[in-house]
Symmetry: D3
């Protein structure tokens, strides 16, 4: 089977231990992630061939980040070296009424300062049949937005399937243009998009009652190239207790997954990324769209119960969860 390409910023994550606050922390746990790298890592564990494309500085922290990707089976050989620094973020896990906190330290990163022609997409897209990107990359800098546009053009020319995740982080968009100015022209290329829609509040506890069909139809009208609209719904009872489900719409039917009741949250970072990874895998390997959304929801539920940015789970583990919703011991 051909390979999947994901493109975005590679981030080092420094998390506090257990439920410590940053102000209490004399040690930090080091993980690596970033939305598109997370998708790559999860897909590689599902058995797909994946290339992750980014730009990183040459130092031992980067080397550790690449080792982290390589251990999951992601190919890192086409990553560019250059620039000053790896993007970082500091993460303090919330508990019940105490919100999780993220301190981003990703400005001036090697990725943000990429040159728009730096990547040789012709080499990268050889043997590829899928390209995944997110709205975080064009948020980083004009050069990142331009590079994304070029990548999407090249991918479309080659008939590569394109999935995009809106992944809105308003406070990242500060290079001069707003997301509403840039995203539409990029989303035009998508075959599959994880959307945002003004009438869908995915953080409501009863999000699954939304009229996804109506919203989906409006989005398909706006983006006629798109064949599949994706929503994830998170009911935030507290920082420790969420519900989680997914919905997809193919222009005809709305498919909504089982709603998982995540009563003891372990780590919600990367939850949406793990959903997208599992969705891509499922679309490539299963016909039944209901099963596809169940697979994506189950896989990403496991992510919420796993520390770090990366969803550490196999296809078999996802299938077992779909079969058996309670967490029995296995011995």
């Amino acid at each position: 089977m051909k390979k999947i390409i994901t493109f975005g910023e590679l981030l080092a994550r420094f998390s506090t231990i257990d439920s410590d606050r940053i102000k209490q922390s004399n040690h930090l746990k080091v993980d690596f992630g970033g939305a598109e790298a997370n998708v790559a890592s999860s897909l590689a564990q599902f058995g797909e061939k994946v290339d992750f494309i980014s730009r990183v500085p040459k130092n031992d922290l980067t080397e550790k980040a690449l080792m982290s990707l390589k251990q999951f089976g992601v190919n890192t050989e086409n990553i560019l070296f250059g620039g000053d620094r790896l993007g970082l973020y500091f993460y303090e896990k919330g508990e019940v009424y105490r919100s999780s906190k993220v301190i981003y330290d990703r400005s001036h990163s090697s990725m943000a300062t990429i040159k728009k022609d730096a990547i040789n997409w012709d080499v990268i897209f050889k043997d590829a049949d899928w390209f995944h990107w997110t709205g975080i990359t064009p948020a980083l800098s004009k050069a990142c937005a331009d590079t994304t546009f070029i990548a999407l053009q090249k991918a479309k020319e080659r008939g590569i399937k394109i999935s995009g995740d809106y992944n809105l982080r308003k406070n990242l968009w500060n290079w001069g243009k707003s997301h509403t100015e840039i995203m539409p022209e990029l989303l035009q290329f998508c075959d599959i998009m994880s959307g945002i829609h003004p009438n869908i509040d995915i953080t409501k506890q009863d999000a699954t009652k939304h009229d996804f069909k109506k919203a989906g139809d409006e989005m398909l009208e706006k983006y006629p190239n798109c064949k599949l609209i994706v929503f994830t719904s998170r009911g935030s009872y507290s920082a420790s207790h969420n519900t989680w489900s997914g919905t997809i719409y193919d222009g005809k039917n709305v498919y909504t997954s089982f709603k998982y009741d995540i009563t003891h949250m372990i780590d919600r970072v990367g939850g949406g990324d793990s959903f997208m990874a599992a969705l891509i895998y499922a679309l490539r390997n299963y016909e039944d769209l209901q099963y596809v959304v169940e697979f994506a929801a189950a896989a990403s539920t496991l992510k919420h119960l796993t520390k770090g940015d990366t969803n550490i789970c196999t296809v078999q583990e996802v299938e077992e969860l779909i079969q058996n919703k309670s967490g029995l011991i296995q011995r």
Copy 2:
């Protein structure tokens, strides 16, 4: 603004890691606290000027304890040095049906063996407008009770506002007198008191249904100098799940806060202290008594979700919780 004085014993706390029992523990986490020090640390983080007054031995463990207070901005320059030992306690966190356990090792401490005239209150109370004490101090020894009495007299003479927290720990009162013999004469000085009342069982799960007005009136009659009665209500579903709210009574109206449902407890030690600290801050900075009690309850809810004796939170974080009761991620 003038400064706040808190007075009491400084304690080292040795806690087991996670949910380990003491009998399993080969490592212990070191924190520092004590009811009055906790109030000081929290007030300093809210931006108040605070002096903590105590008596401590001269050694590196004490030095670490003082560093812990200083990092939060508490002034420690008026603490007395002398005596043999720092009070300690060992703490094993409970889980669901397994109760938390505290082993006190504070007898013969430098604080307990203070001389009643040792502290120069005239120096300490200069530039102060608030004095906070708790019922733990007079419980420690006759000298501590006498010193507290002297402090209260001096404070009253200077027109300093006085808040007192009954903070009953029956097994500490073993120097010859019972709390019912000593506390009334000390409470007479209080402008604000966190009370205990025979008809109010604050550990009932429906504590907020109590007749706080009736109880408050009885207390105000007994302590005519007092203007404000304070109650905290803890509904103990299990060691891992409590509800928490506060109530204040000013002789006219009962103000009860939102009842927080703390479904995944992190550390309840210092919960009452954090309530008192936030109450003092709020009384100094807000007019509306309903907001005052909401501020105190929200702040102390955050304490229950933070490890250690000290409430690590800012005014802004408390205000955010008051606005938004669920713990969303912030990035």
Copy 3:
């Protein structure tokens, strides 16, 4: 009082830290257990004299395992040395929808390769009045099954009371015979047995509604030597939330304990073993069978809230839980 003998395999357990997955783990926590060793450790902490009998290799890991038993007061002097290796298992704690995982690495262990005449039961059973075994031992190898049979014969000859725990682990039974071929002849010796019955599904959330009397009568008919049938019922809401209760049947009455709602599971491994240990203790020390089952259920609830294979609790702590079902702080 005379001593209790338990017999089985001693296991080293390597667990991941917190909620880490094995694939994420660069450190593992070392504990020691095994069903019968767990029963011994718990009984010794309750104040009983207990000998644990097993076969172990001669090396420092074994030495550490024996130190672990000795610290609880278990006598290890009659353990045999020999063979190649200590049985091991790797344990990854589940969370909510993510199941716990056990990787057994106990084949070819010193215990499994025991010679059937290796143990001098006459020496061991001197001064003993109780023998406890489980269905795990005959599952390990033919020699283990034979040794168990010999032990049961010797115990019966001496009038020693015998308790057996079916403890079915189907994937351990792979030396040629199935548990249905071997267990009946071993269970014939039991005075007390923790049973399995085709009509009792103890993992149902409403398990306590089963007809334990009918099932118990059928078992007593099949095993006429038996006087007491034991069931534990686990309602698995998720890997983090179980209910737990016990039921015993003496041929006349069914005694079912309080059903504990374990909302935040710490470690369920050894839950059944701690129930059996507490049951044995209670049968030796209390008359009232209702209190016996309450004691066993309360003790084993504490095990679910304690890390490791061993139930670290005292008789006093169990009694306090029976009295007071919520987990208040004790100071």
Copy 4:
């Protein structure tokens, strides 16, 4: 073989991690020791039957301390319960020019407040043939000095062999008498004593060049009951580098061990105690006094290379070191 009795204070030790200073430490490692408990633990690991006698409070920290002794095989059943607190000390390991630091917090301990008739020595000395004590015990309080005197009398009456370790800690002797007033009458009972002598400076780097014969003769003259004088010599190049050797004198010959060059110190606490334990074991099991002192020096060298108060080593490991002075890998 008959059993050995050691008597003294059981201490909890809280050490900083690695080379951290107390002022930097947010976690502390918990070990248990005390000079006489250390001797007991080491002897039990050598295979001797040992009883440790002390007085301790009833709480879970004590329970952990007893578990620590029991894991090594020390019998703790004759330890008295009573009093307020377990003696503690805080330990900061030195490095090169930075000295190790000990903060004692052992005043008012259960041991120090023992009643002089509290211990039933007749029961304890049954089946015993050796009694070991140190000069730390009489330093703690008058009651401790009196109890030691009574124990020595009782032991002498029963013909039990007595070993005593001067173990001078000047700052512990503050109950009213100095060590020079109390120690001589206690030392009169000793068959073997680890001595101090005004002309022997055991911390000199060339200590082994002392005239041990002359010093020993003077001591034997002063204590005619004594048969063996023991010296340990520590050459302190730095906190990280010491030399270590032992010398014994039987009134005829001086036997000095190999001088070990401990170039990378791990933990010197308990070094002298491990020497005494190994000496006692060797005197009971070997004839050749040169081998006895070699055994004691080798064993205690291993202690300097092992963390904690306790010497974790077997007879076989000591013998291997005597044979082979370099530390090759064993596989």
Copy 5:
């Protein structure tokens, strides 16, 4: 006594645990430092009043950094808030032949992007009598160089004593000018300077044999305002073994300290800073220049034996080391 001002960048340091390499590290230790902050922290622990001046972003990582300074007693109230990010560095400790590695990630920091008029030196220098700066600050950016120049002018106008540490890090100087272009005009203001001189190779193992008088005279000629030239000499036998000593020259005599043989290095970062801090303290408190250099060398030797950027030691500990060069246990 009046206060001391130090000015420079505050850095977060993320170090690997023990001797792990960055590529192996899943956890990092968090400390805070920077050359001038280190000088401030050490001086505060010696009992001096110190203000640290810098510019930092507003987030919880900064807050933790300020807490770290405040715990030592440094006043942080005049630090400016603004800009994007706190400077960071990653530190991997070397061992013997494996060099220590530093990855700087301090570009675009809040300090580097300071406006040259941002600091109100008139307020800061009130009640100050000493100003300390290093060559790292002008290396960061033109604005930093300009700000340093302004500060030096203002300090000189007020008659404040000025000490400067050349502290050359060639790879930091990349904003357009080289250190040889900028440093001379800044050094003109210094009363005391820690110098570099082409003929003095301070990393030679026999550095103390240099002709410090000749070099010093040349420097005093070039910088006529200067009264004292400071050199530190490090003999690098390996990453684990250095020698360390200091030399000062007052235009008349060369004073060289004892040469410390640091056979087991703990952490050399901040070694030079701790020397400068102790030198400043000693110049303010002692007359004898030989004692001054001994004090500075002894204090900074302790820094090499203490983890983190900060020298955690008291005046008393330094004096004890001057008296007694070996690291005996203190109890």
Copy 6:
């Protein structure tokens, strides 16, 4: 360039933390290694293409082991799955006079129970030009010895260069034949062999003074296919202090490297493997045999200063050490 194949057992290593003994360890560090896997990991980090061939069971511990190899860039796709268990060993680091201890638990491993025809060498050797094996593999079982023989035959047929490391572990050879019976026929295939010779004691502190030429000539005569004989010399001053150097002989000249003085050992496991890896790299990339042996000695010196089985170093770091023998800080 073509790829390198290494073949052997993959081992999980459980090491005690710091200098703890196994008997003290409640946590163990998990690493993965095995002689041939170590060679593969090091070569991959030097930039070579490497395949590691082995047989492993299917479980998450294995998966973690493979992730460990993949992170360094080793290809694991040709590893066979099957059998019961992964080989393990427990490692306790020695200190000075206390020897390191290894407890092997590798019997009955998936590798030991391989079928001799299980591996398809024709596929594996495609695109390969180098095969590396060690004497550990034929020691494990007859099947392993047979498989090694087949591999060597196949490699020789294809003209693949063969390097073998005698790597004698006498206590592993217990399947019926001794190493002297099996090794000679396997060594016949070697182009390069790391030898043992009766007259060369490589653990002598003056090993480099041996007559390597005479020994080498005898070995070349016995194994005429061989072109290069390799020796490593370890001078064991203590478990914490070794010297280390290498010698190669090509039938004409003896090339001996610089002798490294490893005064503070971090981890000597894998020292020989890292030498072989670096030697293979150097033989493929450099002409000068003196440089080859310097490269191998320098690289493996870094391994002794790095925790774990794997040599975490790059070509650049090795070259820097060859240039500069002391470990200066790099910033």
